[in-house]
């Protein structure tokens, strides 16, 4: 159980508001880590910091021991960090298949000039990409809808496609921002199983989620933050009974529910 991604003393402030403060945790190989906290606790900010959309004021992120802090956002996909967004951000005018192909674009080897005319490198690159895309579409169960416009999919499938698009970049770490948002209990349950099963494809998963049922069921480790600060960390059973967590969620004086 070695740490794959190590976050240490991460900090960012927007004006006077300290959104993330002195946050340290690590993702271990073969584990699902959930990042939870009340609304506005800074969860999405953490993912934005990890994927280069914000530059941290302080702190360090290492992947396999290498410092990856503050890279430009487009570099993270190449080093194996793939993310989804809280409000689904698909390329909705493009087809399901093209969304997946964009996800794996850095793995397609031919160059800019070769795009303009038919040539063996392009043909081979596209063929390999198509085969790979087929595997991913199979994985997320969207193979029959591959010619559909992404924007026409029902919401639940759009979320799955977004996960598929992230998988397409062949990441070692998957960062999911509220994958179950807007889903009914049945869908949420299935999604939980699905996320857990993704450990076959990636090394580690960091998931932000509000639905405590799925968090408790599928996580190996839970990181709880409030007002940007770490308040508790550990396996589900431990976090569940932590009085500090209960206080953050339910107010002072609350006991286990």
């Amino acid at each position: 159980m070695t740490a794959l991604l190590e976050v240490s003393n991460l900090q960012i402030a927007f004006g006077g508001l300290v959104a993330v403060q002195d946050l340290s945790f690590s993702l271990r190989k073969g584990e699902v880590t959930s990042l939870i906290g009340p609304n506005g606790a800074g969860k999405t900010t953490v993912i934005n910091l990890l994927t280069g959309f914000y530059l941290p004021d302080q702190g360090k992120v290492t992947l396999n021991g290498q410092d990856i802090t503050g890279f430009p956002a487009d570099r993270y996909a190449k080093i194996g960090l793939a993310r989804t967004f809280q409000n689904v951000r698909l390329f909705s005018e493009m087809t399901v298949l093209d969304n997946i192909l964009v996800g794996m674009q850095h793995l397609i080897p031919y160059g800019v000039l070769q795009s303009f005319f038919p040539n063996p490198a392009k043909r081979r690159g596209e063929k390999d990409a198509l085969r790979q895309a087929k595997r991913i579409l199979d994985r997320v169960g969207l193979i029959d809808l591959c010619a559909e416009k992404a924007g026409n999919l029902p919401y639940g499938l759009q979320r799955k496609l977004e996960i598929g698009r992230a998988l397409a970049s062949n990441p070692s770490i998957l960062l999911l921002d509220e994958p179950a948002a807007g889903m009914d209990p049945q869908e949420t349950h299935e999604l939980g199983e699905f996320v857990r099963s993704l450990l076959k494809d990636v090394d580690a998963i960091l998931m932000i989620e509000h639905d405590m049922k799925i968090v408790m069921r599928i996580s190996d480790q839970i990181v709880v933050i409030n007002y940007g600060k770490l308040i508790s960390m550990g396996p589900p059973a431990q976090v569940q009974n932590d009085p500090v967590v209960l206080e953050a969620y339910l107010g002072k004086g609350a006991t286990k529910c």
Partner: protein, 341 residues
């Protein structure tokens, strides 16, 4: 797109190509050939702008800059060094592509109105340089007597031979852009246009994409300029002002953003309509403006959208009578190979 529609559009394109190829055999008046050649030049220029506006999703208000740089490069090299056509074409592409590349640098990651203002300013700057660098460009007097090039020993002197040369350029540009759109680069550009944040998260470097799209756009716009310079044999800075840029913007808008075939149709229509209106003398511009307005309103206003929907429904009803059963969703080849295998 459905198979039947694809087939239909293919048939239309082939028919149009055949007509285009046969036109010179009709021995039309030089005046008409000249209009068709101008339309062809605007097709190339329109496609160069549509790359930026329709595919890259950025409004460029200074497309005439590449047109002008291409025209001046081709004219100056021909007049001063007398290089062969291919060398001139290559040099023009390189220089105008370079000017597109330079234009993309100050943009950084900015989008929307910043791009519009930067392109507008760039065009003004280059126009002033063309006017004031008299030792090179002869300033407002312009460059005269630019000889028509020779194509494998065959001089493109007659208007039909030049017509074919322009037609070939239109075809090459159209086909190459089509290939590009169906490749990694095309997908990345579309992704950047739709959601640049998500595109970045997928490892797409937005700045680099912009450089690429402006470089290509510059190269294609430069080809249009070359065609213009050799066509008339005379160029001066007034041919390449922002008035010209706006004319191209209207071609792309009327033809549809991102729709290269639409640009070709619109370039043809918007070149021919003013000529047809010559009989109306001073009312010409008024009618032309009204036509433009109506086309845009049809596409972008609520009544226009309703009208189109109504017409579409009527079309579907008519089609429904001829069809026994609604066909299952048809897909084009790329998707067949995925589902079929």
């Amino acid at each position: 797109m459905k198979k039947r529609e694809m087939k239909l559009s293919m048939v239309i394109k082939v028919v149009m190509l055949v007509i285009a190829l046969l036109i010179p055999l009709l021995h039309l008046k030089n005046y008409i050939m000249r209009i068709l050649i101008t339309a062809g030049i605007y097709m190339v220029l329109g496609m160069s702008l549509n790359l930026v506006m329709g595919i890259g999703g950025m409004v460029s208000l200074g497309q005439a800059v590449f047109y002008g740089i291409g025209a001046y490069t081709a004219a100056l090299i021909t007049l001063k060094f007398g290089w062969s056509l291919w060398a001139v074409v290559l040099a023009t592409i390189v220089i105008s592509a370079l000017s597109g590349f330079l234009l993309s640098i100050p943009m950084g990651r900015g989008t929307g109105r910043y791009v519009a203002i930067i392109t507008l300013g760039y065009c003004e700057i280059v126009n002033l340089i063309l006017i004031n660098w008299e030792s090179l460009t002869r300033g407002p007097a312009g460059l005269m007597n630019i000889p028509r090039p020779t194509f494998f020993g065959y001089p493109l002197r007659s208007s039909s031979s030049y017509y074919y040369f322009v037609l070939a350029c239109v075809l090459i540009v159209y086909t190459a852009i089509g290939w590009m759109l169906n490749s990694k680069l095309g997908r990345n550009l579309k992704a950047m246009k739709e959601d640049s944040v998500a595109a970045e998260a997928m490892g797409i470097n937005i700045f680099r994409q912009k450089m690429i799209v402006f470089t290509i756009s510059g190269a294609v716009g430069g080809i249009a300029g070359l065609l213009y310079a050799f066509n008339i044999g005379y160029i001066d800075p007034t041919n390449f002002t922002n008035v010209e840029s706006l004319a191209v913007v209207s071609i792309v808008t009327v033809g549809g953003l991102g729709n290269m075939f639409g640009t070709i149709i619109a370039a043809f229509g918007l070149t021919v309509i003013p000529e047809l209106l010559r009989g109306f003398s001073e009312y010409r511009q008024v009618i032309y403006g009204t036509v433009l307005l109506v086309i845009v309103l049809l596409d972008h206003s609520i009544p226009g959208t309703r009208l189109k929907r109504y017409l579409g429904e009527q079309m579907d009803r008519v089609k429904g009578r001829f069809r026994r059963k609604s066909a299952p969703m048809e897909r084009n080849g790329k998707y067949d190979s995925i589902i079929g295998s």
